[in-house]
């Protein structure tokens, strides 16, 4: 069955440190890939998306993600974390590339130490 895994349930980093959140998917073809962020008590906001082309994509708030086909991964990175980045991060896969069939990972909660 198609699935999206985020191996890290909770990550804590110090402010100013670099960040990498992992995402792996299990799917035969290359789906559309997304990262969303959810601040406490809020809905989800899109950080970035990958459809095709350059495997390194830039998003909002200084985030980037790299698609690696050989590893079925789409890891999210940020070179220097800010306290306001503390939130829940979700990787999502659009299985049919028509925008109808999203599968979300379980999420990674990011805590930022001052």
């Amino acid at each position: 069955a198609q699935s999206v895994t985020q191996p890290d349930i909770h990550i804590t980093v110090s402010e100013g440190a670099s960040l990498e959140l992992r995402c792996n998917y299990s799917y035969g073809a290359t789906p559309y890939l997304f990262w969303y962020v959810q601040s406490p008590g809020q809905g989800l906001q899109l950080l970035l998306k990958y459809f095709s082309g350059d495997t390194l994509v830039q998003g909002i708030k200084g985030f980037e993600a790299e698609f690696k086909r050989s590893q079925s991964s789409f890891n999210l990175r940020k070179p220097s974390v800010h306290w306001s980045d503390a939130a829940e991060y979700f990787c999502a896969v659009d299985l049919d590339n028509y925008g109808q069939n999203f599968v979300f990972g379980p999420g990674t909660r990011l805590s930022v130490l001052p």
Binding site: Q42, G43, L44, L46, D94, G99, F102, F104, P106, G107
Partner: protein, 112 residues
């Protein structure tokens, strides 16, 4: 204001009662979605709609009913609420294709 709204934001109900969660979007998006969010599961799709009067089941549809008589509204009804339906419910909309889904602020539902 333009966007996607959900009401109520918080709801407490009792087992066996009928509950309707409302979702309204002002973008005229074709697609609308209902998800539930539970710890450890991320978001799971309950139902989606590709257009007015067209709805289809998602991953976890049992116990839920949807309708879409107008493009901008997509209500979700729990006909007989159960404790297992205690969750945070998110509505989303999209113009379809390769475009992102836009999410509402969520409704926190507690079934006692």
């Amino acid at each position: 204001d333009a966007g996607i709204t959900q009401s109520p934001r918080y709801k407490i109900t009792e087992t066996g009662r009928q509950v309707t969660l409302m979702c309204h979007q002002t973008w005229s998006h074709s697609y609308m979605f209902w998800y539930r969010q539970d710890l450890g599961h991320g978001l799971r799709l309950i139902y989606y709609s590709a257009a007015a009067d067209i709805t289809d089941k998602g991953e976890v549809p049992d116990g839920y009913v949807v309708s879409r008589s107008k493009t901008e509204n997509f209500p979700l009804t729990l006909e007989s609420a159960t404790r297992s339906q205690t969750s945070v419910y998110f509505c989303a909309s999209s113009s379809g294709g390769a475009n992102e889904q836009f999410f509402g602020p969520g409704t926190r539902l507690t079934v006692l």
